[in-house]
Subunit: 364 residues, 2 copies
DNA sequence: TTGTACTATGAATCCGTCC
DNA sequence: CGGACGGATTCATAGTACA
């Protein structure tokens, strides 16, 4: 995982590399990237030109890069770039891939076949999708993203509490309701058309990057396009690497990135989990005299245990840590002794966790 | 497409056939079924027992029928039943398959490989999914359904206007918001437990069958379970064929189906679902760039707080949601942050609730 | 009868660190 | 690397009990 200075120096951080993404990724040092976000070609096989009821032409995806002769051709392309992507990921790295029903099932199966481990599939619900003009299908109102770890044993970054905060205090769900990229955010050519047919909204990338990276992480996008991944990464204080074949897209992306400024550092600090707080052994409360050996603790049912000099508890029949004795009394598989036990001061029960908080605040 | 009387007579209409679905389907006449709805095993790969934070145990899906040795084993099973299913479909027949990220990508790829032609993928958004108790992933709040024609040239039934009517007059989208099957609808064993671990809600099948069959059509379900497909088909005046291996499930399904007749009309009326209220998390204003991380908000007293990337606020001493920080600053038990905080534009204070209104109007 | 408080439960790939 | 152990972790509904 640790790279030599020479190797790290090779990473083209915050640059766009022109070329085929498989070749470029193969030239990068292995295990050097924290996260990959990929929006690969969709393999759309559209019959002819599509018209709206008013006969205006729908500007569909018909670019060369989106054409594949067969599922087999698409599969071998997919496996090749996924294998190249996997090599450059750090051991705890992860990947996001976005697609529609035309390609996402093949991508998902290939991810699993290549050894990635799916963590969640996330549905992007579009608030304002393009309607189905012919009335022959349902409105295609969503796209699917797959979030997967490098392998089954990887422990990718997951900022659970930050996502929970983004969702106003309730756990983030696997369906995200966000508008498509339009208006001022949508990049235009000099002629006024779309600069890229499938430009993703920044809000989508914001949620992806806040949820699965930390400031300073390296985020690579092998199908950079007009650089939404790089733009949001830069705003959020992450480093990016963009790979793109098309010089026209690169030109637009470079201009876009030059105008982005990063948010201030303090704003990038995000709600953290309790697990990250320093561990306080219960025995320390005894050592520091906040609780005395021989003193009695009470559980919610009114059962009591005595504190011993080594920071363990004892009832008539049980001995062990605050967690072990609590679990045994409740017949539960586990117990958080900190919130389970109380001591008595002035006739009032006080949860022992308040003493831990006191120690933690003194530590900081 | 037209079958002889002898062959049609062989169809076990409105019956449950006990046996392996591949064998049973292979014994049916070809091109005899209008629609197949399949809820195959998901191949969940669960670890040890899971407990809720209150230490109650989660009743997991650990049945034998959901166990496969490998992806390869699952794939060959999938291809075999899909091939058998395709043979018995009429030329304009279609199939629905439901799954989760554990299996749906493999199913979707297999569908395409076997010659089916995907028409839509539909996301079932659960209003009340089981949360992620350990805080390690996002809530798995949806399942995916694939709707596919027998082949590229098939013209399956699609009742566009009926679905539009079900959706309050606007075109049906590819995401359906429906509650999981619980309460009285959930079938129980005599001991009071779940009769089947994965019973689907009738509302889901109602929408599927209204949208893609006509009265009198033949609907086959190769993984019949406790017979939701048959129950809804019967209510809607479609013929069904159920295939199921487990005698216990068959027994429950038969009893269920025998009672459908008398409740037919009432049951039809309860299948409409309510739509979820649009809740707008404050974090979405940040994700969507309406407010920037690092930007300052002001309360009525002129006190300020800075916005962070995860949609929380921070003052010199406080961190939390717009509501929490507002309440703390006022020493109040609660606070509506939406009307409490303002941002500054062109020297004018603007309440952040105006941004929420803007988002709500876009959503409706 | 009505309102409130409490309990039960759902297709789940659900811990991290130190010894 | 296996085992021990500290201790963190949940949302929407439906049903039930009781005032």
């Amino acid at each position: 995982m640790t790279k030599s200075g020479a190797e790290v120096a090779k990473l083209p951080l915050n640059e766009i590399v022109r070329g085929d993404c498989i070749d470029v990724m193969n030239a990068l040092p292995e295990a050097s990237v924290d996260l990959i976000f990929a929006d690969p070609p969709y393999n759309l096989q559209l019959g002819g030109t599509l018209h709206r009821p008013d006969n205006s032409r729908v500007d569909a995806v018909d670019d060369d890069w989106d054409q594949f002769a067969s599922f087999e051709a698409y599969d071998s392309f997919t496996k090749a770039w996924l294998a190249a992507a996997r090599r450059i990921l750090k051991p705890n790295g992860a990947i996001w891939v976005i697609g529609s029903y035309h390609n996402i099932f093949r991508v998902g199966a290939a991810l699993q076949d290549e050894g990635f481990w799916i963590l969640n599939d996330v549905v992007w619900r579009k608030t304002n999708p393009m309607p189905n003009f012919k009335g022959k299908r349902m409105t295609n109102a969503h796209e699917t993203m797959i979030w997967a770890g490098r392998d089954r044993s990887a422990k990718p970054t997951f900022n659970y509490d930050a996502l929970k905060a983004l969702n106003e205090g309730t756990q983030m769900r696997s369906d995200w309701t966000l508008p498509i990229c339009s208006g001022h955010e949508r990049l235009k050519t000099e002629e006024g058309g779309k600069a890229h047919p499938t430009q993703k909204p920044q809000s989508l990338l914001h949620r992806v990057l806040v949820g699965s990276t930390n400031p300073g992480d390296v985020v690579l996008d092998p199908f950079f396009g007009t650089g939404t991944t790089g733009a949001v990464a830069k705003m959020l204080g992450r480093d990016f690497i963009g790979i793109e074949r098309d010089e026209g897209y690169i030109k637009v992306a470079k201009k876009r990135l030059s105008m982005i400024r990063s948010y201030e550092k303090a704003a990038l600090e995000v709600t953290t989990s309790k697990r990250a707080e320093p561990r306080v052994p219960f025995g320390q409360l005894v050592e520091r005299g906040l609780l005395r050996p021989g003193e009695t603790l009470v559980n919610p049912k009114g059962e009591v245990a005595k504190i011993r000099a080594d920071g363990t508890l004892a009832t008539k029949t049980l001995k062990g840590s605050i967690h072990q004795v609590g679990a045994a009394l409740d017949g539960a598989p586990s117990c958080n002794g900190w919130t389970y036990w109380s001591f008595v001061r002035d006739g009032q029960r006080v949860v022992i966790d308040s003493l831990r908080q006191q120690i933690r605040s003194e530590m900081s």
